[in-house]
Symmetry: C2
Subunit: 144 residues, 2 copies
DNA sequence: CGTCTAAATAGAAATTATTTTCATTTATTC
DNA sequence: GAATAAATGAAAATAATTTCTATTTAGACG
């Protein structure tokens, strides 16, 4: 199984302690984190750690597909570890911030529809599904 | 046919000259505009016009469903007039910034899928489709 | 048509997320 | 163990958006 160092080598990124730590933090988080939250955790592990380093690495890792982004309705950005390399989308729980993969993408059909009705070409799409996961609704529903 | 003043009354918003102007600017734009771009046009029409007024009104109008938002991949926000009151999504051309309605939403299916596989409840979704419209690809393709 | 009141606004300042710059450090290559 | 390109820290810059507050104005009412 590939460890974090191998993942970075594949992306042609140097294996620095900080990069590994960021990956590690996200891997263990199980929920999505803001850059600032990642920074806060990094400061517990490193004496000197700049916020730009966090931002830079999160973007690089996301560009490499190792981690994914959540765009909130308020357009704030969050990141989480996602091992799934296939094209897919996510369901994010706005209560506990857990992320689940959706093995479902209507993009193909949309592409056809766009091509057929507008004669246009689709280049990218943003898709984010928000809601309340089963754990959180159980908490509130009291059925526990 | 409802004019802009009627639309504002329905939303219980006062019919101020500036609000009408913002609506008018978007209605005539045919492409999506940034708050700053709306402000620039407003400054040509009003001696005194504050940027917060533009932001406030755009949000109010969007909340009322009279105008719609485009969230770009860089997470910048744009607005455009959209008369379609049904739930739908948009195709936006990143070249000329024209917006077309997509009479297509896979949201129902996603909701079912989320419910079935995750036992979770969907509350909202962001969906944005970017591409090149037929006019723009004709320009580039040289088929004109 | 004047008066009243809540809503709307201007202008300035504050906030906040994010990015840039650049000198210094460090991981990798040989 | 050098050499070199990549990575980093710290500070500053940027830019979108929001807040604050005193003033103005639209719409209701008489």
């Amino acid at each position: 199984m590939k460890d974090h160092s191998d993942i970075l080598k594949e992306l042609e990124l140097k294996t620095t302690p900080k990069r590994l730590a960021i990956l590690d933090i996200l891997r263990n988080a199980s929920i999505y984190l803001s850059p600032d939250e990642v920074w806060t955790t990094m400061k517990e592990r490193f004496r000197a750690i700049g916020l730009p380093t966090v931002y830079r690495n999160l973007e690089e890792l996301a560009a490499g597909g190792v981690i994914s982004k959540v765009i909130h309705p308020d357009r704030k950005l969050y990141y989480f570890f996602c091992g799934n390399r296939e094209h897919h989308h996510h369901f994010v729980c706005t209560s506990c911030r857990k992320v689940d993969d959706l093995n479902f993408c209507a993009f193909g059909e949309i592409e056809k529809e766009v091509s057929r009705t507008l004669n246009a070409t689709v280049s990218s799409h943003i898709m984010q599904v928000f809601g309340i996961c089963s754990d959180c609704s159980a908490d509130k529903g009291g059925r526990q």
